[in-house]
Amino acid sequence: MKTEEKRDLPRGGVIDRGGSAAEYSTGGWRKLRPLLDKDKCTNCLICWVMCPDSAIITEDGKMVGFDLEHCKGCGICAVECPDKVKAITMEEEAE
């Protein structure tokens, strides 16, 4: 960081605008990666409701995939996906 930039950092660590969390990539924290089986998915969007990182991508009201820049791999979507559907599975990133 340059000296001028350091001086300009807002006093007291205040973040003086909204929505800046999107600029912070948390995808690197992930150990487990969510995988979607589109054939099974009913687009109920329970995963979209439950995801704590807003990492479920939708188009025209349909579940289309994951924002892997922000998904931390917590697996909540896979758990919340209804038992009769189970369209989301978690897989080790290493694989």
Partner: protein
């Protein structure tokens, strides 16, 4: 408030607690979260009466602990409010975690600390262990010898804390019972004078402005944490000049000027005592008595302890041969009290360094009398004559 005389408009006989509560009424802060504790209970009790009577517009928040009181102060201050509270001893100790958050977030909260000893053993009387325990918490600290000084310091604390070059929380300290519960004659300001002096507080950020959302308390890592601490440190160093400027302006407006410390008969003094708060008054009597006997003795009473005006103190002590720094708190370091180590360190820069000793006195409200101060000066005289210090640190008034 009892004992306010209306016949002579501006003169009143008030306890320290009543005077602080009255000052808070005149300041009329937006929010006051508080959890009363001896000996500062009177401040909160009387101020809550002003709230109940509609004499102030303050939102008074009753909380379940001092940790919560300071947390509520932080939340309200981050929302853009002018915030005040009061506490003592264990209460300040319980606030400890939140004190650092208030200063780190650069929130100009004002706290009155009525100095009281810390447990164990439990004791409700005066010493400075509480505020000295918070000396590294990033709060500005002003100390008050008298009820008048406590009253005047509160208004100045608002101006100092809210100054754009500072923006740090400030603590006004006065001695438990000795000052908080003793009635003294003091001169009050008019409400309009107070309001004109402190002005309106306009926070740079407010959590309540939903059109401009902000975040307080975000995580900072290796790339930025140290930068914020550096900013905070520089603001604390700048506070010294603001304290001087505000104290001078207060003097010009109301006839009672304030500096970083008070010098009493120090100009030609060869032996001097350094002591905070009410014990300075006792020491002044001893200085007067010894001066009558031709002794060149003096006193330096720090008013501003945080930031510590090391250069100015060294300048004022130039020429003094023997100094006793009296602490009403022990750092439990085996090396005297906190005021001693800092004063002695400040004096290291002098070319002709004086002998400096630490004397711990008055813990848990133990009396400090004129004869005790005289004994200290007698010991200093011996040190000056022999050039030797027999005991560097010790307890007196035991």
């Amino acid at each position: 408030m009892m004992a306010i005389s209306t016949a002579t408009k501006k003169q009143a006989g008030l306890t320290g607690n009543s005077a602080v509560a009255y000052a808070m009424k005149q300041i009329n802060p937006d929010v006051c979260p508080a959890y009363p504790i001896t000996p500062s209970t009177g401040v909160v009790e009387e101020f809550s009466s002003y709230v109940a009577d509609g004499a102030v517009e303050t939102e008074f928040i009753t909380v379940e602990s001092e940790h919560s009181a300071m947390s509520a102060c932080i939340g309200a201050s981050a929302a853009g409010a002018r915030v005040m509270t009061a506490t003592s001893s264990q209460g300040l100790a319980l606030m400890w975690e939140m004190l650092y958050i208030a200063s780190g977030m650069r929130l100009p909260i004002i706290l009155t600390n009525v100095n009281r000893a810390l447990s164990a053993p439990i004791n409700i009387h005066c010493d400075h262990s509480d505020s000295m325990g918070a000396r590294d918490s990033g709060w500005i600290q002003l100390y008050s010898e008298t009820v008048q000084e406590a009253y005047d310091n509160l208004f100045q604390a608002v101006r100092i804390a809210e100054d754009k070059d500072v923006l740090l929380p400030a603590m006004v300290c006065l001695d438990g019972f000795i000052t908080s519960h003793a009635i003294e004659n003091l001169t009050l300001l008019e409400d309009s004078e107070v309001q004109e002096f402190i002005g309106e507080y306009r926070a740079e950020h407010t959590l309540l402005d939903t059109d401009n959302p902000i975040t307080y308390g975000a995580m900072t890592l290796q790339d930025s944490y140290m930068i914020f601490k550096h900013q905070q440190s520089e603001a604390m160093a700048r506070a010294k000049d603001v304290v001087k400027r505000v104290g001078k302006e207060f003097g010009e407006k109301f006839g009672r000027g304030y500096g970083l410390f008070e010098e009493y008969m120090l100009d030609d003094a060869e032996e001097a005592v350094v002591v905070l708060n009410s014990a300075a008054g006792t020491t002044k009597v001893a200085v007067d008595e010894l001066r009558k006997a031709g002794r060149k003795v003096g006193l330096l009473k720090p008013r501003l302890f945080r930031p510590f005006p090391f250069r100015e103190i060294a300048g004022a002590m130039k020429g003094v041969k023997a100094i006793a720094v009296l602490d009403r708190a022990d750092s439990m370091s085996g090396f005297g009290g906190p005021l001693f180590t800092e004063t002695r360190s400040a004096l290291y820069e002098l070319e002709a360094r004086p002998k400096v000793v630490s004397r711990i006195f008055g813990l848990g409200g133990r009396d400090f009398k004129v004869k005790d101060a005289v004994e200290v000066f007698d010991e200093l005289q011996k040190i000056k004559k022999t050039g030797k210090v027999e005991t560097l640190t010790k307890y007196i008034t035991l």
